[in-house]
Symmetry: C2
Subunit: 452 residues, 2 copies
C-alpha cells in the first residue's frame, strides 16, 4: 500500500494479485448469471455528468494542455460512477442491445473528494444492472440481490458481509398510511440513523419532517425492524398502519429476502432503516456492511430506478448494485487483514548453475510453463544460497536445480527444505502452490484464491 | 463498435468478450513467465508527464470543477503511456520491490490527439518491462522479446503478426565505423523509410545528416537487411564496416533472434530499418506489424533504456515492450475481421412454461451454474417460439425446457433444432459452447477463445 498522491492509492504486486482475484471471481459469478461485460469511456460530456446536481463539485474536468479556442471540443469530465455512463451507453446503443439487458462493469471512477479512509479520488467499482425497455418485472430485483449476494459470498477471505435490503415503497406507503406530508424529509431523517442516536432522528422527524410525536415513534419503530427471513412482514403489520403502497413494498421486499435464501458466505437481511436518502430509487434499495469496518459505511449499494434512462419516447427502468472494490479492499490491506503469499506469480525458480547453463535452464522453464506452471529462471549464476534467498524474498515456494553430469534434476520446497529428484516433463506442484494465495487474518489460515 | 465521442471508441458486449479474451491470454502468458501485475493511478503530476518534451500538447490536464485557489493541489494530468508512471512507481516503491523486477500492466491511457484510424484519445495498452538496479544483463532483452512473441503467438485469431527487432548499437556502431558525424539525424532519416521512398531517405541522409553519397548508400543498404534467422550478421559484415559498438549490437540482436526460435503463431525477424527515431532507446528496439494493416504502423513497440528511472543515486535500467490492444483490435472490429458468437455469456436459456414456474426454472439454472455453465432464465412466460427467438437474438446456443407433469426436461440446440431429454444435475455442453467464441474471417472458422 502506497499513496504518494493523496486519495490515489496504489497497490504492491502481492496486493494487486488479491484485487485481481476478487475481480476475477466477481466476473466469473456475473457471467455465470448471464451478465455481459461492458466498459465505457472514462470521459463524459460535462452537462450529462452535472445533471445529478448533488455532486457537481466532485467532478474532474478534462482539458487538453494546448487546447485552442477553436477546437470545438465539448467540455469533458471523468465519470464519478458507472451508472451515468451506462445509462448513456444504453441510449447510444439501444438499437444493438436486447432487453432486458444484463451487464456488469468493473472500472475505475474518479471524484475530487477530500481523501479519507474509505473515500478516494480514484477507485474501482464493480456494478451489475438489469435494464428493461418500458417495463422491468420485480423478479429482476430478486435476481440482482441474489447475484451480488452469491458474488460476495464467494469472496470467502473477507470479513463477514451483511447485505441489507429495504424498499422505498414500504417506507413511503407507511408514511402515506400515517398521513405524513413530507415523505422525502422522513427518508432523509431515517437515513441519518447510521450516524446519530435515535432521539436526534426523532427530533428531525418532528421538526424537519413535521411529524407528530406519535408518528415519529412509529417511523422509528419501523426503522428498527430487521430480520434474515420474512418475519419482518408481521412486525410491520403489528404497527397498525395500512396502505396499498405499503403492501406492495412488503411483497417486493419479502420476494427479495425469500429469493436469497440458502446463499452461503454472506447474510442477506431485511433492514427497514435503509433509505438511501439522496438517491433517486423507487423500490428496492440495497446497502452492505463489512463487520468490523462500520465506519466505512456501505461498501455495496444500489436499488431500483423506474427511469434509469430515457430518450423522451422510451423509458428504460433498471435495477442495479455497485460494489466498491477499492473501498472494501484498501482498508483491509492497510490493517493487514489481507496479505498475499508472494510478490511474483512464479511457483518455481529454476536455479542457474553457471552462465553457460542459461539455455538449458530456459528449456526446463519452458517445459514447466507448458503445463501452466509459472516459472522464472534465476537472473544470475550466484552461489546457490543466494539464489535460494532470491526465491525466498519473492515468496517463490520451489527452487529447481538442474542436474549436472547426467545427474537427475533436484527440486527443493524452500519452506520445508524437503528435496527430491524431479522431472521437468511431468512434475506438478500442489494445486494450492500454483498461484499466489490470499492470507486472511479473519481465520489466520491461507485460503486458496484460485478462480473455480 | 460505437463512438459517440470522437476518439473514445466503445465496444458492444460481443466485442468486449473478445477484448477480454485477448487481455486474459496476455495476462496468462505474462504470469507464466513470472511477470507481476501492477496498476498505477491514472493521474500523474504534470511536471513528470511533461519531462518528455515531445508530446506535451497531447496531455489531458485535470482540474476539480470547483477547485479553490487555496487547495494546494498539484497540477495533475492523465498518463499518456504506462512507462512514465511505471518509472515513478519503481522509484516510489524501490524499498519494497525485488530486482530484477518483472511487471505487466494492462491499462487505459489518454492522449489529446486528433482522432484517426489507429489513433485514439483513450486506448488500452498492455506493457511488460523488466527493470534492474544499476545493471540489467542483455539476456533480459531476449526474455522480453520471447515473452511478448509467445503472447502474440497465442492470439491465434489475429491476422499474421511480425515482431521486428533491431539494435541501436548496431546502427550507431555502423555510423561510427563509417565516421558519420550526426548519428541522431541518421536515425531520424532511417525511421522515415516506412513513409517515404528510399531515394527521399537518401536525400535526407545527405542533406540533413551530412553523409556522403557513398555513406548514404551504405546506410540504406544496412536498413534493407532483414532475416528471420541470424544470417543478417554476415550480410552486415559484407558491407565492410567495422566498429566495436557494431559488433556489440550484432551480438545482442543475434541473441534475441536465436532466443525467439521455435515460437509458433508469430514471426520474429531482425529488421535493420527499425530505428524508433524519437524514443530514448539505447540497445534493442522492437516494432510489430499486422499483415494487411500496414497503415496502422507498429502495434507493439519498445526497447532497452539504460536509465528507465533514476533518483540521482541509483539508476534503474529497463527493457520493455508495449502492445496497443485498442489500436490492434478496433480496426479489426470495424472491418468485421473479428466478430463474437454471442452478445451474452449464457450458454443456456431456461425457458419459462408459466410465471408460476419461475422458482422451478431458477433451480434448473442454479444446478447448471453449479457446474460452471453460464445460464439465464427467460424474462417472461411468452410462447415458446418467442422464447427461442429471444435466445437466437442473443446467440445463446441451448434452450432448456423444464418437463411438465413428471416428463423429463428437454434440451434444444437451436442452431440445429436437435432436441433430446436432459438432466440438469449432469448435462454438460460441448466445451466450445461453454463461452462466447471469436469468429475470425482470417480463417473464416470459429476459434475457441477459452484461456489458456
Amino acid at each position: 500500500m502506497t499513496a504518494s498522491l493523496s486519495g490515489f492509492p496504489e497497490l504492491l504486486p502481492s496486493q494487486r494479485f488479491i484485487e485481481l482475484r476478487v475481480i476475477d471471481r466477481l466476473r466469473y459469478c456475473f457471467e455465470l448469471h448471464g451478465f455481459a461485460p461492458v466498459e465505457t469511456r472514462a470521459a463524459e460530456p460535462l452537462d450529462s455528468l452535472l445533471r445529478k446536481g448533488e455532486i457537481d463539485k466532485e467532478v474532474y474536468v478534462l482539458r487538453r494542455l494546448h487546447a485552442a479556442d477553436d477546437d470545438g471540443d465539448v467540455g469533458l469530465g471523468l465519470h464519478f460512477d458507472l451508472t451515468v455512463p451506462f445509462a448513456r451507453y444504453v441510449l447510444d446503443n439501444a438499437g444493438h442491445l436486447e432487453f432486458p439487458f444484463r451487464r456488469y462493469q468493473i472500472q475505475k471512477v474518479w471524484r475530487g473528494e477530500r481523501p479519507q479512509e474509505g473515500r478516494y479520488r480514484e477507485f474501482t467499482q464493480a456494478d451489475i444492472d438489469i435494464v428493461g425497455r418500458d417495463v422491468l418485472p420485480v423478479h429482476h430485483d430478486v435476481e440482482i440481490a441474489r447475484v451480488m449476494a452469491e458474488a460476495l459470498g464467494g469472496l470467502n477471505f473477507l470479513p463477514p458481509l451483511r447485505l441489507q435490503v429495504n424498499n422505498r415503497k414500504l417506507i413511503e406507503g407507511f408514511c402515506l398510511g400515517l398521513g405524513v406530508p413530507d415523505v422525502p424529509a422522513v427518508l432523509r431523517a431515517i437515513d441519518r440513523l447510521d450516524k446519530v442516536p435515535p432521539d436526534i432522528v426523532a427530533t428531525l422527524l418532528r421538526e424537519d419532517a413535521g411529524l407528530t410525536a406519535e408518528h415519529a415513534e412509529k417511523c422509528l419503530a419501523l426503522a428498527e425492524i430487521r430480520s434474515g427471513d420474512t418475519s419482518f412482514v408481521s412486525r410491520v403489520w403489528a404497527l397498525g398502519v395500512s396502505h396499498p403502497l405499503l403492501d406492495e413494498g412488503l411483497d417486493e421486499l419479502a420476494a427479495v429476502i425469500e429469493g436469497c435464501a440458502g446463499i452461503s458466505g454472506v447474510s442477506v437481511e431485511a433492514d427497514l432503516r435503509i433509505a438511501r436518502g439522496l438517491d433517486y430509487y423507487t423500490g428496492t434499495v440495497f446497502e452492505t456492511r463489512m463487520t468490523g469496518f462500520d465506519a466505512l459505511g456501505s461498501v455495496c449499494s444500489g436499488g431500483r430506478y423506474d427511469s434509469l434512462a430515457t430518450d423522451g419516447r422510451t423509458t428504460y427502468p433498471g435495477v442495479g448494485i455497485s460494489l466498491g472494490v477499492t473501498r472494501m479492499l484498501v482498508p483491509l490491506f492497510q490493517r493487514h487483514v489481507l496479505t498475499g503469499t508472494r510478490s511474483v506469480p512464479s511457483a518455481v525458480l529454476v536455479a542457474l548453475p553457471s552462465d553457460d547453463d542459461r539455455h538449458r535452464c530456459d528449456l526446463v522453464a519452458q517445459s514447466l510453463r507448458a503445463r501452466g506452471i509459472p516459472t522464472e529462471v534465476a537472473a544470475s549464476a550466484q552461489k546457490y544460497g543466494k539464489q535460494i534467498r532470491y526465491a525466498e524474498r519473492r515468496g517463490i515456494p520451489f527452487v529447481w536445480f538442474p542436474g549436472t553430469d547426467g545427474e537427475p534434476d533436484e527440486l527443493t520446497d524452500i519452506r520445508t527444505g524437503a528435496q527430491s529428484p524431479a522431472d521437468a516433463s511431468s512434475w506438478l506442484p500442489p494445486v494450492e502452490d500454483l498461484h499466489p494465495q490470499v492470507i486472511s487474518t479473519k481465520e489466520s489460515s491461507a485460503i486458496s484464491s484460485d478462480v473455480p
